[in-house]
Subunit: 338 residues, 2 copies
């Protein structure tokens, strides 16, 4: 496939006496004035501008599309992250191809294959499949939160470990003596697993006996929570814990409702902190469901897009963690001033 | 642009002794075995298979992409609708190009232009701009909820008028005597305007004096709600209304919190119904924020996709309305049985 001396689109434009843009339009089937079209076609014929050249042109042509593979848009965390990713891509002149992959592994694979066929310029993935083996190393890809066997895929996540430590420190600062941890996790390894490591590290640092519910996510998780509460009831009816750090805001919200149903006041009897920063009705100014370690969604999205658009691939970190921040959502007490 | 007797891709395949798929791959720059590639190129040269033909091929080639233009993914209603649209498109072998157009009219126009350039196969739009004039009549497009000057654009929406009547009827059935209506609306006309028509029609039918707050959406809408409550306080502190129908679940949720802050019990003193069917944490099984006239999101999404994929365009209705259903979200009383 010798490339030497083959006429270029530029040569065609010169020969036809039209702009490069006009040649491009004719080649791509976009309407131009009939006289220009004829000139371009005549130039193509006389220069023997070849199909290979078109093919190459098509092949290297940027589609400007980036596949965003994410479980669904029903979970407000995923939806908000996608909103910010779409915005960050748009600012770089890129378009978002949305793939909601929940429970459909073959759908995920189909979208990953688009990249190999040069039909997308890159991939941002929050996926529960081990897609490492399906990835062409030349394709710009970034993975949010998950781990993969293929360790060369750059990953972006929140700093879950420090976020957990900060959650426990916040509970201690607000007067808790016995903070417990509630976690229902997916079977797939990810950065969010470090929330537990952070809890255990905080226990060690502050001489707290670890006390937690840590299970695989299941349909009857509410029953598991109820049992956990029952096990911690003292003979006078009060609870042996006074603080709860929940793995997600969702589980925090459910746990809060259970506590209240049992007659415990939140935050007076038990303070509670979740993780994620999910807001009612989704807007950035809306109420949190619970006090939370909030993930920095706009920054996480921008970082993902930065990684897939960086020219010098040698400069891309394999792991980028961004800090989370505590925000009061009504399930923690206010610090008394003075 | 005579099309007669020009060699086709099929002719090239025959001449080269390869499959049509192989020819397509070579033309589209996809890797095939070098010997096949050479055969195809030779056939193209000998048949004078022309660039016009490629251009036409490119032009009519289905990209398989549908642009979904929607304000944002932060609003859980838009996010859930997008989730179901993506799913419905996927089931038809189509891919979703996501455009979050909030406050960026030129972004919307840019995506609409993609259709004219044959870079997308269709458009599903929930937009606040009057895009009617930007639409090529040949492009399959469907608009959710909005009105446009160009009345030829097919529209899909919930049956807002009947939904409103049903909301008032439900409040009456549950014992309300004086239901009021709270609405903050956008400046853009849309099907949801018919919610007010439905309220007024119900008032007429059931001999209720209309009593409502109807304003353009504004930053201080909460103050407007407070004033409305104050105006309806009787000398004994009770309210002169006992039922509220809110234009959206969001406004319903805010109004409920205001009522509770003022010491009124919901649903004991005041019953409240919203519109939309938005759920906490977004899943289809999660709690509603308030009792609501729920829009049938999966059905609305499927209908939008059906309309842009229908071959016989003459069969497409200009307006398709789907029924909403009442669901108890805790802000209405239960009907006493027996």
């Amino acid at each position: 496939m010798a490339k030497t001396n083959a006429p270029t689109m530029k040569d065609v434009a010169k020969e036809a006496g039209v702009s490069l843009g006009t040649v491009s339009k004719v080649i791509n089937g976009i309407t131009v004035r009939e006289e220009y079209k004829k000139k371009v076609e005549a130039a193509i014929a006389s220069l023997h501008y070849e199909i290979n050249t078109y093919a190459r042109g098509l092949k290297t042509k940027k589609t400007g599309l980036v596949a965003v593979i994410i479980p669904n848009m029903l979970n407000p965390f995923f939806a908000a992250l996608t909103d910010y990713i779409e915005d960050a891509l748009y600012k770089k002149g890129l378009k978002t191809m949305l793939c909601c992959s929940d429970g459909i592994p073959e759908k995920e694979i189909a979208y990953l294959n688009l990249a190999t066929q040069n039909k997308v310029n890159g991939i941002v993935a929050l996926t529960y499949s081990d897609i490492g083996n399906f990835i062409n190393p030349d394709i710009p890809i970034v993975v949010f939160d998950r781990f993969f066997e293929n360790r060369n895929i750059p990953r972006v996540a929140s700093d879950n470990y420090n976020g957990s430590m900060m959650a426990i420190e916040k509970l201690l600062e607000l007067g808790c003596r016995h903070p417990v941890y509630i976690r229902f996790h997916s079977i797939f390894p990810g950065e969010s697993d470090k929330r537990k490591d952070g809890y255990l590290a905080a226990c060690k640092k502050y001489h707290i006996t670890p006390d937690f519910l840590d299970m695989e996510d299941c349909d009857n998780f509410i029953d598991m929570m109820k049992q956990f509460i029952d096990k911690h009831k003292k003979s006078d009816g009060s609870l042996s814990f006074d603080g709860v750090f929940c793995h997600t805001d969702y589980h925090g919200y459910i746990f809060k409702k259970l506590l209240q149903k049992e007659g415990y006041r939140v935050p007076e009897d038990v303070q509670l902190i979740g993780f994620d920063g999910i807001r009612k009705f989704g807007g950035s100014k809306e109420d949190l469901f619970v006090s939370s370690m909030c993930q920095p969604l706009p920054q996480l999205a921008a970082k993902c897009v930065e990684i897939i658009t960086t020219e010098d691939r040698s400069m891309i970190p394999s792991l980028t963690l961004l800090p989370v921040t505590f925000e009061d959502g009504g399930t923690t007490r206010s610090l008394k001033k003075g």
